[in-house]
Amino acid sequence: MANVPFLGLKTHSQKVCSLFKRTLRNLEAFYDRRNVYRYQAVLMRERFDKNAQVKDMRVATQLLKQGEEELFLQQHSIPRKFPLSPGGVAYERVVQSPDWVLDYWHPLEKAQYPEYFKRREERKKEFIAMWEKEYGKEEKKDQHH
């Protein structure tokens, strides 16, 4: 995807939304009781809404920058993270190996689960058949190097 230049760029509204969400997460870290957090979140929403109608792009960019700065200065030292999200305690704790790893098992290892692998081979054939039905046969011209 490196040749698509505009994919990584965010629009202004996306940036504002991202800022709003991060601000809410930061508030969540500070106000751990739900009702208090809701109150603070509504206040924060009001601050954002106040500037929602700004049409001048220069002013809006400036406001966004100020908002980012304020958020940075108010970061909680120990942000509240969900355990499985990036930065959380259990992030990537359980490594789920991708499906193709099973194909690289040694035949002796495969032989320990005969039924599963038999069915797996069938499924693979079915999938290939389905694929070929959908998209046609693979061309054979790339056989030689």
Partner: protein, 583 residues
């Protein structure tokens, strides 16, 4: 098959070992016996490397506690790690850990101590990185390298001990007290113990090590590994008393206690709070040790091992139940759902705070009274009592967060408290953390300590505890309006919250300039000047010379070769004629 799983077998073996130890402990303590077994491995230049085993009441009692806690923890991890694929590896690592701990406990010889000491470092590294994510990896590296500093100090002690011709430090404790070399050795031993017990410059690894599975934290990072340093200093104590560095240790450990107490109040990770409370208790042990009361330190070490392991196991149940969530901001009101676990949690918290007649009371109260009796300045006194208050403070805050408020995670939840494997193991330890204080008090002190204090000083512990509990209650409520307060003192809060920035200092702070400088050196010296002036430059010069030489060699003109010899001879002859004429 289910019954004879590796967990059950290990549990059974360790539990039996613990029972055997308690039997021998009673026998040894009654008859006041000490057994030393020595097995000579190698002898060279009049020094012999021996594997020694020291059995006295202290090592037997410690072994009993270690094996009891580890057996219970293994029993517990059968349920906690039930969905783990590599359970065998886990249990074997824990067993290896117990084995090296026992090696450390029973050896009066600095070389065999190193065996256990290094084993502890290695195995605890393997256990911290048991979950294979980046966080665990970083934590494990911090743990291993911090402990490695201590290993290096032990190695240096070994080389210094060679001056005495033997490594059985046990025999030199009383006779070499004022020796200069022994002083060097004891300073190094203190440094080693400070790394293992996470005292102040090295304390960042202990909260980081909480990346390990919770049973490991219960066994390794609360009750056994971190107490290895304390135990070593208890063994060396008669050597260390009246040393200047011991006063430094008193200050450092007092600060550790204080720092950990405050950081625990700012922390939100359940396991890290408990780890910081462990750190605080370690500071307490170290400081009482450095005041010259090794038996009190040992006493507190044992009781603390019991209730801290219990506390971690309760935390493990909560984490297990909450689907790996460790942040206490997600929790609340769980005493309605898991009353039995909360019972254990409260008992261990109370024991930690030193509520009368639980395990912690006997050791902690005695320690604080001895502190009040001793000849100390006001600063140290303040550190002790403020830290005691802080213990109450964070314990109450934790209790408030966990139990009082509403459940704070999701609107749909199903919390259960019916994992009897975990509950059984927790109740074993709960019994112990209720009973062990008085039990040990009666058995290990041959004569009681005499305490004679004014009433207010005696009640000081209770004052600070009540104050701390009240503050803890307020703090947990105060947090509701906290953002502005937090931001007002943002720098100070971050400073206290992040353990006085020690994790940063001991990772980036240590390696940043060195790595930077190393990169500079690599670029300019290794791959720059020294390459030109030694390796590549030499090859270049030699290549030029050899090409120049080949010019003579390769043209194969035999006539010229022979003629050059003749020319040389003529040259010599000419000189000789001049010489002969001059005769």
């Amino acid at each position: 098959m289910q019954k004879f799983s590796i967990c059950f077998i290990s549990f059974f073996v360790l539990f039996s070992f613990s029972m055997i130890n308690i039997f021998f402990f009673s026998y040894f303590v009654m008859n006041n016996l000490v057994y030393i077994l020595e097995w000579e491995l190698i002898s060279f230049s009049s020094m012999s490397i021996v594997m020694s085993i020291l059995l006295d009441w202290m090592s037997l009692l410690f072994m009993m506690f270690v094996s009891l806690i580890s057996s219970v923890v293994i029993f517990y991890s059968k349920s906690y790690m039930s969905s783990e694929l590599n359970l065998n590896r886990f249990i074997i690592l824990v067993l290896l850990f117990v084995f090296s701990m026992i090696l450390l406990i029973i050896s009066p010889n600095i070389i065999s101590i190193l065996l256990g000491w290094d084993g502890l470092g290695l195995v605890s590294y393997c256990l911290v990185i048991y979950y294979q994510n980046i966080k665990s990896y970083n934590a494990g590296m911090l743990t291993a390298l911090s402990n490695r500093v201590g290993d290096v100090f032990i190695l240096m002690v070994i080389s210094w001990m060679m001056n005495y011709g033997s490594w059985n430090y046990f025999f030199y404790l009383d006779f070499m007290v004022n020796d200069y070399m022994m002083m060097m050795i004891s300073v190094m031993i203190i440094m080693a113990a400070m790394t293992k017990s996470a005292q102040i410059p090295f304390s960042s690894w202990l909260p980081a090590a909480m990346a390990a599975p919770t049973p490991v934290s219960a066994l390794v990072h609360s009750s056994t590994l971190v107490t290895a340093g304390v135990y070593l200093l208890i063994r060396f104590n008669s050597l260390l008393i009246d040393m200047f560095f011991f006063k430094v240790l008193l200050l450092l450990s007092g600060l550790t206690m204080f720092m950990a107490g405050i950081s625990a109040n700012y922390e939100f990770d359940l396991k890290k709070i408990i780890a910081l409370s462990t750190l605080s208790q370690l500071g307490l042990m170290m400081s009482i040790l450095s005041m010259g009361f090794p038996d009190l330190a040992f006493f507190h070490l044992l009781t603390h091992a019991m209730f801290k392991a219990l506390l971690f196991m309760c935390a493990g149940v909560i984490i297990h139940m909450m689907n790996d969530i460790q942040d206490i901001r997600f929790m609340g009101g769980i005493s309605n759902f898991i009353p039995l676990t909360c019972l254990c949690l409260n008992v261990s918290n109370m024991a930690l705070c030193g509520i009368p007649f639980l395990a912690g009371f006997y050791s902690k109260d005695l320690i604080l009274e001895m502190v009040s009796m001793s000849n100390l300045n006001f600063f140290i006194f303040l550190l002790y009592y403020v830290s005691t208050g802080l213990t109450m403070f964070y314990s109450f805050r934790l209790t408030m967060y966990l139990m009082i408020n509403d459940f704070n995670l999701l609107s749909v939840y199903n919390l259960y408290d019916e994992d009897y494997v975990m509950l059984k193991s927790m109740f074993t330890l709960m019994m112990m953390s209720v009973l062990s204080g008085s039990m040990l008090m009666w058995s290990i002190f041959s004569y009681p300590y005499m305490i004679y204090l004014p009433l207010n000083i005696k009640l000081m512990v209770i004052y600070v505890s009540i104050l701390g509990a009240f503050l803890g209650y307020l703090m947990s409520n105060m947090n509701i309006y906290s953002m502005n307060k937090y931001l007002k003192s943002y720098n100070l809060s971050s400073f206290l919250c992040l353990m006085w920035f020690m994790p940063n200092l001991s990772t980036y702070g240590l390696n940043f300039y060195f790595l930077n400088y190393g990169q500079l050196m690599l670029k300019n010296i290794d791959m720059g000047w020294s390459e030109f002036y030694s390796g590549q430059g030499l090859v270049l010069i030699l290549k030029n010379y050899t090409v120049f030489y080949s010019f003579f060699q390769m043209n194969n003109n035999f006539k010229i070769y022979l003629f050059s010899f003749v020319l040389w001879v003529c040259f010599l002859m000419m000189f000789m004629m001049i010489y002969l004429n001059s005769l």
